[in-house]
């Protein structure tokens, strides 16, 4: 891949970062579930596709790391399954369009005509953040670990077996290997031929920042169900709160904008907000005394696994949020049976936490 023109490399990267998740999301975008209603289904498709791919990546990469297998095993197996899933998703979308005729194109609609000016303001604020993500750099010491791991993995093709700060080989670093988001960046670097450092510092924020707002959009869609004109207002204020969220070094907004490429940033700004979306849907369905459907629970598990992919701490935080919300829901609605599926969704995180502690 290294000998290809830069334009081609960027197209390959865009294929893996934008097209494949969108197509994989076709399974969700064409299924009947609570999140797949009304406008904005394209955002739901793309976000859900990305979560499925991240969960898949964790399930392939962690065993490979523990078995001390090299990166090509991950690249070929993850790459092949992703392409198969994307092809399946594409078939689903095509069939959906054929069955529904012009109405099938509603999948792509996100806005009402009357609220376009506010959508425009929200888009401009997002554009500002994307331009700044390319133009500005943030010096963070933790990159010396995470980005170096991506660079080393893409170059040496071993996973967590080299010392990131100084070089030289070492035993497998299992504790960090349980949260292999840097290896995902190495994968993108490997398949596109773009240096891992550029993928981490430039390409990853261009993917993860819009994804954050897509998740907020999904949340807004549920919060303001039936009052869609309020969604762009909600997005404008969330963007302003992010842009002016640097009131301390520790805020999730600081992590999201300044250190997007690090797993903990993705955890705080994408995974946890996505859990809010899913939990809100669950609460709504509990109130309506209806089921959420298989697609919902499948996505829920994928989001929980993504929490593990981002950070080993994510396993604990995701379980905590689910436990507290599940407990509140069970008490408020007097439906304690909801705790069982929620507990099952936490299983991957529990396994991850146990592995982490066993290697402590």
């Amino acid at each position: 891949m290294n000998g290809l023109p830069v334009g081609i490399k960027i197209c390959i990267l865009a294929f893996w970062m934008i097209v494949v998740p969108g197509l994989v999301g076709g399974f969700f975008g064409t299924s009947r579930n609570e999140l797949n209603r009304g406008k904005g289904r394209v955002a739901y498709m793309w976000v859900s596709g990305q979560f499925v791919l991240w969960a898949l990546f964790w399930m392939i990469c962690v065993p490979c790391t523990l078995l001390e297998l090299d990166l090509p095993y991950v690249v070929y197996s993850y790459g092949a399954i992703s392409v198969l899933l994307a092809a399946g998703g594409a078939v689903m979308v095509f069939r959906h369009w054929r069955q529904n005729g012009r109405h099938g194109l509603k999948l792509l609609r996100i806005a009402d005509k009357g609220s376009r000016i506010f959508w425009g303001i929200a888009a401009l604020l997002l554009l500002l953040q994307l331009v700044q993500a390319v133009r500005m750099t943030y010096a963070d010491g933790d990159d010396a670990y995470y980005v170096a791991v991506s660079s080393i993995t893409a170059n040496a093709e071993t996973m967590y077996q080299k010392l990131p700060y100084t070089g030289g080989t070492t035993g497998v670093d299992i504790r960090h290997g349980l949260a292999p988001l840097p290896v995902w960046i190495a994968f993108l670097s490997k398949v596109s031929g773009i240096r891992a450092v550029s993928v981490a510092h430039v390409a990853a924020p261009l993917l993860l920042i819009p994804m954050t707002y897509m998740v907020f959009y999904l949340l807004g869609r549920k919060l303001f169900a039936g009052k869609e004109k309020r969604i762009p207002f909600f997005l404008i204020f969330t963007e302003l709160l992010v842009l002016f969220g640097d009131y301390s070094f520790y805020t999730v907004e600081n992590f999201m904008i300044a250190r997007s490429r690090q797993g903990k940033a993705a955890l705080g700004s994408i995974v946890i907000p996505m859990l809010f979306v899913l939990l809100f849907v669950l609460l709504t369905r509990l109130q309506e005394e209806k089921n959420c459907g298989r697609a919902y629970w499948f996505l829920f598990v994928c989001v929980m696994i993504t929490g593990c992919l981002c950070s080993t701490m994510g396993a604990v935080l995701c379980c905590l949020l689910v436990a507290v919300t599940g407990g509140c829901a069970a008490l408020c609605y007097r439906k304690f049976r909801i705790l069982l599926p929620l507990a099952l969704c936490c299983l991957p995180c529990v396994i991850c936490a146990v592995l982490y502690m066993l290697n402590g």
């Binding site: 010396a144 700060y165 805020t251």
Partner: protein, 254 residues
């Protein structure tokens, strides 16, 4: 003062956003009618805050997450969506000029209470598409040898970037030297680093320590005072790049 209270104060920083969040929480507690919103935006944050300050919970989570990152439990509070939801709810409850005034006021409140992220002093204009300092990129490109790794000693202000850009350039010490020893148990001390960072570098001592650590290259800022001759210590000037002098082991044959 307990660790949790201290962490909350640190998290709140200079801004008032956390206070607005607590007020929004109170508003929703009193006025919100939708049960799912009440649960997710009121009850769950209240339970999480209760847990956050609970000494037993602090102890358990502190041991699981680590005391210094315990503040990340606060990431579970839906601050941004709650504030966004309440602002929109308040704005749409009004009509005409009042709505405009409240919207502008809310924007002003967010702007004045928070801190613009791109004003953070750690942000700087990127030198290149790698988001690495040009000096690091050019020096690494110059010293890389195809098909093998090379070891080079860099000034401390460059160590955190070197292996992000080039995984084939190894170093005798890395970012661990930048960490405060009082704060992290993985911070270390290194004689070579002490010599490199001293005001006047003793050439012979530097050459001797660099050889011991297997360094093929030594990178020194051009302005650095060097006492003695590095050539005599076994390192000859290889290149001058972006204000840095790069010395190479005279016995090295690439």
């Amino acid at each position: 003062m307990s660790h949790a209270v201290w962490l909350l104060q640190e998290y709140m920083g200079s801004g008032l956003i956390v206070i607005w969040f607590l007020i929004a929480l109170l508003y929703l507690f009193v006025r919100e009618e939708k049960k799912p919103v009440r649960i997710l935006f009121v009850y769950v944050p209240l339970v999480l805050l209760f847990l956050f300050f609970n000494p037993l919970f602090v102890k358990v989570m502190g041991s699981l997450l680590g005391d210094e990152i315990y503040y990340r439990v606060l990431w579970l509070l839906p601050m941004t969506p709650t504030l966004g939801y309440v602002i929109v709810k308040l704005c749409v409850a009004l009509r005409g000029k009042r709505r405009c005034l409240l919207t502008v006021g809310a924007v002003g409140l967010v702007v004045l209470s928070g801190s613009y992220i791109y004003r953070n002093p750690f942000f700087a204009k990127a030198d290149n598409w790698y988001h690495m300092p040009d000096s690091v990129v050019k020096i690494c490109d110059a010293i890389e040898v195809p098909g093998r790794e090379v070891t080079a000693v860099f000034p401390l202000d460059m160590v955190q970037y070197v292996r992000q850009y080039s995984p084939v350039v190894c170093m005798p010490y890395g970012r661990e030297m930048l960490v405060d020893t009082a704060w992290n148990d993985w911070a270390v001390q290194d004689d070579l680093c002490d010599v490199m960072e001293s005001e006047t570098v003793e050439a012979e001592r530097l050459g001797q320590l660099a050889k011991e650590k297997g360094c093929i290259y030594i990178v020194l800022p051009g302005k650095k005072k060097v006492k003695g001759d590095l050539q005599k210590a076994g390192y000859a000037l290889f290149a001058e790049i972006e204000g840095y002098n790069v010395y190479r082991d005279v016995t090295f044959a690439p």
